[in-house]
Structure formats: C-alpha cells, structure tokens
Amino acid sequence: MIVSSALMIWKGLIVITGSESPIVVVLSGSMEPAFHRGDLLFLTNFHDDPIRAGEIVVFKVEGRDIPIVHRVIKIHEKENGNIKFLTKGDNNEVDDRGLYKEGQNWLEKKDVVGRARGFLPYVGMVTIIMNDYPKFKYALLAVMGAYVLLKRES
C-alpha cells in the first residue's frame, strides 16, 4: 500500500544518509537570505565526514526537539577525532551560545542530525501550514483517506 511504501522509502533514506532525519523543513529566518521558512533541506550524516568551518549543520540542543539549521564558524578538533564546534545563523548577529543548554559552550558530533547537502525552496511550507493550522491537517488527512477508500471501490 501507499503508506508502507512511503515508510520503506523513508526508512531507506535514513539508512543511506546516516541521518535520523534526512529531510528537514527550515523553521526560522536565521539563515536568510540563503534559506527561508518553509524551504526543504536534504541531509547526510556520514560518520567519517569531518565537520569543518563553513558547513551548514542541523543540530538539536540536548533536551529540545526542534532541529536548528546554522553554519559552523569555529572548530577545535583533537588528534583522536574528538571535535567541539560553534555555530551561528547567517542572519543572526551573535553566535549560538545563547541557544545551547545552560553552561554548554560547544556542540559535539552527537548533537548533529546531519549536514545540509541539498535544498529545495518552498516545498516544506506544507508542513508548516499543517502545524500552524491543524484544521488544514485534518482536512488534508480526510481528503487522503477519502481518496484511498474511493480508489479501492473501483
């Protein structure tokens, strides 16, 4: 069925990209004018991919669910590969230390959801609209449900 194939594709993407969330929607304007709210980002998170200054990473602050898409502006990496890095939104005046957890000054590899590798504008707006207007989400689900039911009958 449609649902199981969609799920299989999604799970497949997670494995291929190494990221728990290979496609994310940009939620804020902190990376404008590159990315706007509603844009879609495609991520990879290969373990051996080094994190370098200038890269755009998607990370989660410990304890918070919302992924943040910002640029790496500083890295300090030890010989054994342990790395700590600092991020900042292109459109923000200051770096992200204010966004990290209390007392946290750096991000680590474990905080990274993925590296932004590709992007499509506007496409993610649907998710944002569904979040902001739940009635729209239910209407959409109702339409999809009706479509599936009616299709079967014929």
Binding site: P33, I56, I73, I75, H76, E77, A116
Partner: protein, 131 residues
C-alpha cells in the same frame, strides 16, 4: 559571555594590515546560483588541538550584486579566540578563502579557493591594548 574572559589573552588584535584583496567571481554566478556565502577562515594546529578552524570574516553576495570585490584594510569581523593559548608563537596559521554556493534549488557545494596566506603570530602578548 563570561567564559571568554579566560581566553582573552589570545585575542587577535585587528589585522588591518591584510593588504587588499581583489576578486572577480562573475564566473561562479550561473542561472542556478542564488547566493554565495564567502568566508575567510584561519586554520592552525596547537598543542591542545590537532586542528582548529576559525571563521574571521564572512560576506553574503546575492546574484545581481557587483561580482567584483575590492577589499582593503578589512578588520576581522569576528574575534579570533583560541581554545587555550595556542596562538602565541604559532608560525603556521593559514588563512583561506572559501565559499558556499546556495542554488535556487539543488546541491549545496562548499568550495575552497586555491592559494592561502600564512600569518605567523608573535611570541609575546600585547600589553597595551584593552577592550
């Protein structure tokens, strides 16, 4: 931020003597390039950390902006803090220019320019400046 007080000793004083840089990037802007995010980063090694990279300056260039940049007497946009005291006497700090191409849609490549400038740091701290 209070944490930085400890690291103040390795503050890089504005390197306004970077000379001037001219570059023409018209060739990078094609129909699918929306914007270029340019940045100058310093890369170096210290006793504490095998690899350090710090972005000192960045600039956003949109398609349609003047593609010929002439930068003279630029000050470092961001403070150049080291994680420790690894800048004192460090002879091998390399500055490279890189850019992130943001397309109208598609892949987001990160490109590093060829060539780099080496900036050696003095062996002693500055004692007269304060911030």
């Amino acid at each position: 931020m209070h944490g930085r007080e400890i690291m103040r000793k390795d503050n890089l004083v504005e390197r306004s003597d970077l000379g001037f840089v001219t570059f023409d990037i018209t060739s990078i802007f094609d129909w699918n390039v929306k914007q270029l995010f340019l940045y100058l980063s310093a890369e170096y090694s210290t006793k504490n950390n095998a690899l350090n990279q710090v972005v000192l300056w960045d600039k956003i260039m949109l398609r349609g902006d003047n593609p010929r940049l002439f930068l003279k007497d630029m000050k470092s946009k961001y403070f150049f803090f080291d994680d420790g005291n690894g800048l004192k006497g460090n002879r091998n700090v390399t500055l490279t220019l890189s850019w992130n191409v943001v397309p109208n849609a598609g892949i987001l490549p990160l490109v590093t320019g060829s060539g780099h400038v080496s900036v050696p740091f003095p062996d002693t701290y500055e004692t007269t400046k304060s911030y």
